[in-house]
Amino acid sequence: MPATFDEQRRSRVRIVDILLAILVTVGILAYILDVLALRWGLSTAYIGRSYPNYLKAAWISLYVTTIAYFIGMGIGFVLGWARSVRTLPLARVMAARRREAVAAADGGSPGAGLFLGTLLVYGIKYYVRRTADAYVAIIRGTPLFVQIVFVWSAVLVFYPRLDPLVQGLLAGVIALTANTGGYQSEIFRAGIQTVHSGQVEAGRAIGLSRWGAMRYIVLPQAVRLVIPPLTNEYIGLLKASSLLAVVGSVPELTTFGRSEAFQTFHIFEAFALVVGIYLLITVPVSKVVEWIERRYRIPGLGIQAPRTARV
């Protein structure tokens, strides 16, 4: 197919764009290298020698983050759903049931089992909701740093005999999971509540159960809506995993970089590597998610193809 004049022009413009971008990036990198290597005496030999150890440390960060993220996703979904459910104070529900039972009493006496069932269903719903609210308030209302130290000290007290590495990993995963669970619940709540209530109603109208409507109608739409904030949360959590440095016994990227820096005195090299590797993970992650987003995009639903400025 012959390219139109417009397309040719656009592709030329794109090439110029890319060339410019490369030029600028190379320039900045060269400048940084100049500052670091020549003026501060950055040892490229050290970097070349020890970067595999940093990558190993990065794997630990990545493992801890990913495990916490996906367990936290389960917690987040359940809490988010619980927090999006409308509940009524128990007293009101019971009063309504009593009215109803009296009205129906001419057809037979209302069983005590009926009341018990109602109490159970609405009671569980109500208290699950309140518990979820409290959980999110606690997680959001306290610093992650404090949460990590708190869980860590609890682990030290209850399992004093464990290997320090295991203690640290346990504390880290628990604290990060609990934390991301709270934040992800808000993401899921937003997603679930954004799906129009008519969608659920239509699902229920063809006979789907509450869970069925969630599984086949709300979730597929909500997940598409919350992919960007969920990605954000993953990247944020990876960066937050550096707070495990306070534990000291888990050789994740920041901990490792810090100990290298102060043991070998290659301070700038160490932190340059740490920074570089964090970027090396976070940037591709956002790119992959962007691809997933495009792949599962549905016309008219949620985030549409971004409008790019045409030159």
């Binding site: 109803e100 069932g117 239509a202 109208a205 063809i206 006979g207 739409q221 008219g300």
Partner: protein
């Protein structure tokens, strides 16, 4: 087919249904008219138990269905519903919208459900739109997919909640035609609508509702041209003009 006795419904302090009773025979089309806020939509939703009535009884084929030992999902499978705002599942194609219920609720295997779904889409004149997403369809097309979606569950009766009120005028006809065809095929239907032409043509009986009560019942001729109640006269006067 459908019988409702003494339905009562409160939303908080709001008394929406004040003892509504009605009956629809098999194959009959009943039209309900009335000002907004009169409880028409709530009434429809109480019939398929999307809303649980405070008191009163709903019968389907002679069986009371608003009982605690009957799952409301089971009732909804047998009574299809079409909404004012279509409510097509936004993440599914037209065909997937139609087949979701049969596959996930009735357990029909996907191939059979797909074939049935295509037939239903053809029946509402949308055979070529099977793979389009709701956002790619016009309002009239979306509403016809919604009708096919409800029919896919093979319901005993259909409820229509102002199916043409959200449509641009140019698309109203095609939806009404699909509904009229359904009525000719002998479907039992309860339709909330202000389309007087459709009501006169298809319905034998019309109910006028106001403030949670049925005010008047009669043939289209009676309700539109010689209403007995003052309130009916006022309402009909407003919509006919």
């Amino acid at each position: 087919m459908i019988r409702v006795e003494e339905l009562e419904k409160h939303f908080g302090a709001l008394h929406v249904l004040k003892g509504v009773s009605l009956e629809v025979q098999k194959g009959e089309v009943l039209v309900i008219i009335g000002p907004s806020g009169s409880g028409k939509s709530t009434l429809l939703r109480c019939i398929n138990l999307l809303i649980e009535p405070d008191s009163g009884r709903v019968f389907l084929d002679g069986t009371q269905v608003n009982r605690r030992d009957i799952r409301p999902e089971w009732v909804r499978q047998q009574v299809g519903m079409v909404f004012q705002s279509f409510n097509l599942f936004a993440h599914l194609t037209a065909l997937q919208n139609v087949t979701l219920g049969p596959i996930r609720v009735l357990g029909t295997d996907p191939t059979t459900a797909g074939a049935q779904g295509r037939k239903l889409l053809a029946r509402v004149g949308l055979a070529d739109k099977a793979d389009a997403y709701p956002a790619q369809l016009s309002g009239g097309q979306q509403q016809r997919v919604a009708i096919a979606r409800a029919l896919a569950m093979n319901p005993k009766a259909m409820l229509f909640d102002e199916p043409t009120s959200a449509l641009d005028p140019e698309y109203i006809r095609e939806v009404l035609d699909a509904m009229a065809a359904l009525a000719r095929d002998g479907m039992t239907m309860i339709v909330v609508t202000h389309e007087m032409g459709f009501a006169s043509e298809v319905a034998k009986r019309i109910l006028f509702m106001d403030a949670g009560r049925i005010i008047e019942e009669g043939s289209p001729e009676e309700i539109f041209h010689s209403p007995k109640q003052e309130r009916t006269r006022m309402f009909v006067g407003k919509i006919l003009r």
